[in-house]
């Protein structure tokens, strides 16, 4: 038997927990975007050892489940002698993980810009960073935009696993409400709708941008990155 019914209080509790989901997603988006920009730049940099380093970083973060990365950051940090806050662990993990995906998205866009642009910039006496900043990235932005918005949907969904290290965001609030009300259909139905309300507009916008901008950006056989299991 349930202790309580699913009422306005419970709904309010879920809606209030939603702000932590949104905040975590924003942190992950900002952190991941910044790291991704650096990683993408390194991936196309002239120095080969740096390129390998960035490739290894991407391999690790795209080739292992993000949940394991999160556990490593949260429980593994005690190895270094301190107990992190779930927020710190989640922010670090989602930023690093997002950085790998964003890095690949940005690299794809950068590499789609014709070689002649690089050569022209070199002829003008531009060095690497200057070329990237003033010539390549301004042109690549229209190619980056649709998959970037699409990946934001993945970020919002992925924040749900932060509940598994005890961070009280929407998914964890849902299990808490379910425990006291035992009305899983109502509880998880409501929570699904909240997530849907956050994600669907982004999905629609990404689709709109894709139709408007992206034409033949991905090479044959290359798969778009905007999909995720979590």
């Amino acid at each position: 038997m349930s202790l309580r019914d699913f009422g306005p209080n419970e709904l309010m509790f879920l809606l209030l927990a939603t702000r932590w989901t949104i905040l975590l997603a924003l942190i992950a988006f900002a952190g991941g975007g910044l790291i991704g920009l650096v990683v993408a730049a390194i991936r196309v940099a002239p120095a080969r050892p740096l390129r390998w380093l960035a490739a290894g970083y991407i391999q690790f973060f795209m080739g292992t489940p993000i949940l394991i990365q999160l556990f490593m950051a949260y429980y593994g940090a005690s190895f270094l002698g301190y107990r992190p806050d779930p927020w710190v662990a989640a922010a670090v993990t989602f930023s690093l993980n997002g950085g790998a995906f964003f890095g690949e998205i940005f690299r794809g866009a950068i590499e789609a810009i014709p070689k002649g642009q690089w050569e022209a910039a070199t002829a003008l006496g531009f060095r690497f960073v200057r070329t990237l900043r003033l010539v390549i990235i301004p042109q690549a932005i229209r190619l980056m935009l649709p998959p970037t918005v699409g990946f934001m949907v993945q970020i919002v969904k992925t924040t749900s696993i932060a509940s598994l290290i005890g961070l009280t965001e929407l998914a964890r609030a849902a299990t808490q409400v379910n425990t006291v009300t035992f009305q899983p259909v109502l509880v998880f139905g409501t929570v699904s709708l909240i997530y849907f309300a956050l994600c669907w507009p982004l999905s629609l916008y990404a689709g709109y941008l894709e139709r408007r901008f992206a034409t033949g950006m991905t090479r044959k056989g290359e798969t778009p990155l905007v999909m995720s299991a979590v």
Binding site: S160, F188, S192, T223
Partner: protein
């Protein structure tokens, strides 16, 4: 503060790790099988089925793709028993994972189907091929061939996605890891080992899918 990484106390439990890996592979394989089946039905239903079918399929795809897998997992695990379906956590995991992949597979295959030129279907019609044979040979096989890279990328993500079903106490690799942490108190080492296992599994699966793709689409144009 611990001074050095010690993998010995964990590698003693190799049998547990292998059993977890086996469960992970099993969950991934079953859900990939069922999920792809749902995807084929969904894509064909949306492109060739009656109108009253295409709307619910579109809703299913959008709903699943815009909500977290974890919530879908909780929904299945906690709700279905109320309707009289007694599920073990492993069965619930397979159901949720299949429904999840089904939505992505539907969308990927539909994109492939829509890329088939209308003229191909008209040509097949004028040759007198039956509706079933047109859908199977003229539409599905070329579409599957075109979207196979995207589909196998999604399968890889599905393998990594199985890691979260430990949240409903299904005994796969991640759940085994958490148990080992409680037994040995060597969290960092445990998760390093688990990460390596997943990494190898993912690389092996990539090779396998590439091989399957080469075999399957070798002779057909």
């Amino acid at each position: 503060m611990q001074t050095a990484l010690q993998f010995g106390p964990i590698l003693v439990h190799l049998d547990l790790l292998l059993r977890g890996l086996e469960k992970t592979i099993q969950l991934a394989a079953l859900s990939i099988l069922f999920g792809t089946a749902i995807g084929v039905l969904g894509a064909v239903g949306r492109s060739f089925g009656p109108r009253f079918l295409s709307w619910p399929i579109a809703c299913y795809v959008e709903l699943i793709r815009n909500t977290p897998l974890l919530i879908q997992l909780y929904f299945v695990f906690f709700s279905l028993p109320l309707f009289g379906f007694k599920l073990s956590s492993n069965t619930a995991a397979v159901v949720a994972l299949s429904i999840h992949l089904g939505a992505y597979a539907t969308e990927i295959l539909r994109a492939g189907i829509e890329a088939i030129p209308e003229g191909q279907i008209e040509a097949a019609k004028s040759l007198g091929l039956s509706r079933y044979r047109i859908i199977r040979h003229v539409v599905l096989v070329p579409a599957a061939r075109a979207v196979y890279p995207s589909l196998s990328a999604q399968f890889i993500l599905q393998i990594m996605g199985t890691s979260i079903v430990g949240a409903i106490a299904a005994e796969e690799l991640t759940a085994v890891a958490n148990n080992l942490v409680m037994q040995t108190f060597r969290s960092f080492e445990v998760y390093i080992i688990i990460a390596i296992i997943y990494f190898v599994l993912v690389q092996a699966a990539s090779l396998l899918f590439a091989g399957i793709g080469k075999l399957m689409f070798r002779w057909k144009v």
